[in-house]
Symmetry: C2
Subunit: 206 residues, 2 copies
Amino acid sequence: MPYPAGHRAEKRKRIIDSARRLFNRHGFENVPITQIMAGAGLTHGGFYAYFKSKSDLYAEVLNCFFTDPEWKNCWEGVHVDLSSTDVGAQVVSAYLSRQHFEDVENSCPMVALPTDVARSGVVARRAFETVFSAMVSVLERSLLDKKRPCRTTAQVIAALSIGGMVVARTLVDRAHADELRSSCLHVALELGGWDNRISAKKRNMD
Amino acid sequence: MPYPAGHRAEKRKRIIDSARRLFNRHGFENVPITQIMAGAGLTHGGFYAYFKSKSDLYAEVLNCFFTDPEWKNCWEGVHVDLSSTDVGAQVVSAYLSRQHFEDVENSCPMVALPTDVARSGVVARRAFETVFSAMVSVLERSLLDKKRPCRTTAQVIAALSIGGMVVARTLVDRAHADELRSSCLHVALELGGWDNRISAKKRNMD
DNA sequence: TGTACATCAGTGAACGCGCGTTCACTGATGTAC
DNA sequence: TGTACATCAGTGAACGCGCGTTCACTGATGTAC
């Protein structure tokens, strides 16, 4: 074996990382293989030694990102402690943060690519569905407001976080985008009962 | 003038309609001009007699759809009476309806193309922003629940409606998608105070 | 330690196809007489 | 009413480019001796 073990795996990871960043920025269809490989420090010819075809790479990127235990990839520097009691509040805050808003390359693909995924094959869509479900579960377990069925509330908070970011990223007016993020965050925290203990308790009583 | 007045305008409208349907289904980049023109009953060569370039067509389609007074285009058959007192409830119900979920071709572009628009030029993004603002205004004016600043609540309901549909359309499991739509609709109506008069009154009192 | 070798990661030229765009031409239309 | 004509909507061949994919080859690496 002429090359050290792990050499191949590491290059493969580099290609996937490069693809992820480029897909997040330009969508699935608008990124040439040459560019993906260049981002990994390689030339286009080598691509097919790693992947069967370009469309194979889509699902690979999604699966890789989604199964990666380090969710911190999502929002670099915004660490979420999954064992904390108010994970929900942390997840929502990180999701709707300015950092996540600005860092398109390292964005959560659910925000950067939902319509691309919707148009893709079942494999990509299933990957998306898995993460969405995971996000809902995490939120559901940490809900403080039990006014509604927890699963319902959790689904709404997830959809609101994703939708708020998707819309905010299309707006031209930066202040408008900030206002929208802030509104979504405010109400999401309120829906989860994480806004503050007083209002949470009050709501639980009626 | 060899052709009747309005002939050109009508053909132009046909091209835009064809483009809108195809864009909604496949995104901006994945639709060849040949296909757009075929959808309008023409051949590709004639395109440039109507539009300066393909990218010119994007903004045109968005603007055309968005400025069209007949919002019923959005959800064919789902009529919203803008003069009614509970417009908000009607808009949200129509937006999150099964009909809108299924009819991708005639979908609201805010649901079918938000990430495509986010990657586009300022013209397309401004068109999106205008409609989003319009939607927020309509919702805001018909809010019954004044617990929060109305604009905040209206923004959240809009983001939730769009986000809920965007995510629902990517899910593979149909029942899961239905559940999500239902959750979003339920909470959106609740946030607006349109769920029922009793709970609306109750919430206004505290 | 040094040299020859087998392996395979990576290169870049080449192919074919599809698409955006152009343009010379066709033919349908309303008008003038 | 009928015919010649000017106008211009629409056609389809052609061009050039970019991209996905293939493949013969190069050269870097660890191993055997």
